[in-house]
Amino acid sequence: MQAQTRAHPFMPNSTAELKQELLAVLGIDSVDELFAQIPLEHRLRHPLDLPETMSSEVDLSRHMRGILGKNTSCQRALSFLGGGCWQHHVPAVCDEIAQRSEFLTPVWGTVASDLGRNQAWFEFTSQLGELLSLELVALPVYSWGCAAGNAIRMAARMTGRSKVLLPRYLCPERRAVINSYCEPPEMHSHISIVDIDVDAESGLLNLESLDRSLGDDVAAVYFENPSYLGQIESKAREISAMARRHGAETIVGVDPVSLGILEPPGEYGADIVVGSIQPLGIHMNCGGGLGGFIASRDEQRYAHEYPALMISITETPQGDYAFSMVLMHQCSYGSREKAKDWTGNSTYLWAIVCAVYMALLGPRGFRELGELIIQRAHYCAHLLGKIDGVRVLQRSGFFKEFVVNFDSTGKQVHDINRALLKHGIFGGLDLSRHFPELGQSALFCVTEMHNEQDLMLLAEKLREVCSS
């Protein structure tokens, strides 16, 4: 059989007879006639020249597996990378639901035909609301960085002010996204960013520095809890109160898996809360597992500034639960350039997976997970702190990430990590490029994925590497 005459497996109408039949219905001889709208001088200057076609799944599968086999995954290696994407356990039930065709493939239907999907979305916002202790949670946006950018812009619109205060140490990836959302100084809606010092000893926000920068021109104070460098911000209430005294909004970025043991931000004065949904049952996907959430109290002044889609529960006249989009007129589908920022395709499949994850864990699972992580992370810090020349910057008060300094070993993080790699270990995230004042430091992340043997292996190999 000639390749050109075979119908393509993805295209049911690609049999020659069927195409002929359709052309006959239209009364034309060739499909080219249908493209008459496109002037000839607009057409391709040379025909498409893509590599050889692999329409057989057997060839394509082999080709793809050959390339993907060159990756080393965090399942095969022992990884201590975090920073803006974290390896947590993904329950098999999450994977099963993520791959259900009904959720995987659709776009939009009606309130009735999408009932199940809309309910799953509502169960995402509702369960997250319980973790955060907040009543208004929107459908997710692209990422934590984007959520933070959106939240800062919400605060600027609400207050009519154009300055935001950020902690000196912030994930460089998130910080760069926030920079984009705050616009360059040439733009009339530019938001200026002021860094707040972080206390070197405690790793917490320096309240004197915050006090100096706070004024009646500040739209929002943004901080994270735990901070980028891992510390639990114990002065969160004081920070929120200081912001409120100046009429500024308090925006807090949180790690949702910490909330089984950490105070929910809704309880310590956060006005808008953002964070990543990736730890809630989403694989890292090389960064493709990110998603961000935005939440607040259920007050009109907040609700009317959300750029994201929002879904509400209601009842039909027959008394059935139904779930419907609300406040669509303020998003870009409803208002074009007058909208609150913009929306579009986002990370809605992940919202369903997160709902499954939160339901599986329940209140006891979240507490158990948080307790395990904080204990193992501190145990790891303890083991690493015993190695000659290795210094753990803050020996307690963190959740799952902590900073390890290698200055006294005389070695660079880059070389240490290259050496660890030979032992199948991905060492901590190198902080030296973005934060040279921290010296040769790395951010280590410990989660439920690491058992005691893993942590002892890391300490053993690190001791070898540092003393070689």
């Binding site: 329409s55 239907g109 999907r117 996204v177 909208a339 209140p363």
Partner: protein, 523 residues
Amino acid sequence: MTTRLRRYHAAVWDEPVIFEMGVAGRRGCHFPLAGPEVHKTVGDAKDLVPSAMRRRSAAALPEMSEPDVLRHYLHLSQETLGMMGISLFGTCTMKYNPRLTEALAAGDSVADLHPNQDPETLQGALEIIYAFDNLLRELSGMDRFTFQPAGGADAAYTHACVTRAYHAAKGELGQRDQIITSIQSHPCNPATAAAAGFEVVTLMLEDNGYPSIDALKSAVSGRTAALMINNPDDMGIYNPEIMEWVKIVHDAGGLCFYDHANFNGVMGKIRARELGFDACMFMLHKTFGVAKGGGGPAVGAYGCTKELEEFLPGPLVDRKGDSFILSDSSGNSVGRVREYLGNVQQVIKAYAWTRAMGSDGINEASDISVLMNNYMEKELLKIRGVTRSHPGIKGWRMEMTRYSLGQLYEDTGVTVSDVANRMVDFGVDAPWLSHEPWLVPEPFTPETGEMWSKEDVDYWIAVLKQVSDEAYSDPKKVKTAPHNHPIGRLGPESLDEPDRWAMTWRAYLRKKAARATGSVDNR
């Protein structure tokens, strides 16, 4: 044509909201407990949390067993019609999502990669990103792509950011503060331009279906930063003057961005670069076979010419000898529009789809998309009450046609929304209507693409014919639809009221209690 309408009925599970399920103490998963050595060394978890930050009461989440959680969400999946039926959702290009690529992406060599791994351990992912960039260069004529934008709208935003950086580098950003678009462009174009700080100039359509050259000429000036435009538009009309448009904007000093949301009908037929554009965007979750997931994770692949490459967000993938490296160097880069490399797993799926199609397959897919649309148009226009937008424009449309049920509404009082709600009773998901603002009354916009068989399309046509017949003979039946779904329609009260909306279960419980006691609490 005789097409039998199926006896469809959606699954009805009367599934409770998850907060109404479960029993105290039930568990859906366990985690290991810290061992004695760990406990001896670090003590109780509680004491590791600063006292001011300890959670005082457990989150009020449901307490369910693992099988109960699984079955709850399986039931909800069954109460979602989507592509289990036939979905000809226009502008979104409903396609087959090959399950091979889903299986590959679910494997640990894609799913369990961290973006900050040593590039030596990411060679497979980087190789595919590099190779797919090259495939898109061939399809568009552009010189370089980034996959960081997490959707089509995010790619439009990327263009607005690149536009800022380009004019800033020339010292002209303060002066060039306007972006031009048309009323038929997707709302994300004006919205992202405004969110990036630009003033938006919107051109209206002439009788021929696109704005006039004169309108464009009077819109451009020394303030013009860029043009953001789609072509063909959602009505299936291709603007034959687009090369002149690009020249006019270039002469004024602006950049030209091609929103290729509607690429499916012109794949292999035109290249954005050859039309003169500086940048373009492809949606991998639409045109390139990646699953939509009900709205992401998605990728707006943004490509540009050599001249704009230095402004792209990083990191980009380069080849060095036999290996692939990440480069994140240019001082003029816009930085990031989203963290890391974007939705990498979707890039991998799109690469596989493109290799499975090849040059011939992609050409055939655009042929079939346009062929099927015009076949469907011929049949749909035979249905009573259906007209097409701009009826005066003769000739074939591209891969989509916008229709109007204005006549049906005038004759019967049945709206396009009523019709959509009735169509779902036959296992056909609701069609896309139109972006705001509606330029024709009671609009709807189906798109066949290359995935739906002639039988599927005939079925869809037969359903619309049935609903039209019902509108004329028994309008009440249509206006009270759906009848074959677990729930009917919402009541007339708007949910856009603070005492009615409830975006979480806890808000719902509070407001319900307030209504019961007659206390209104409009915070």
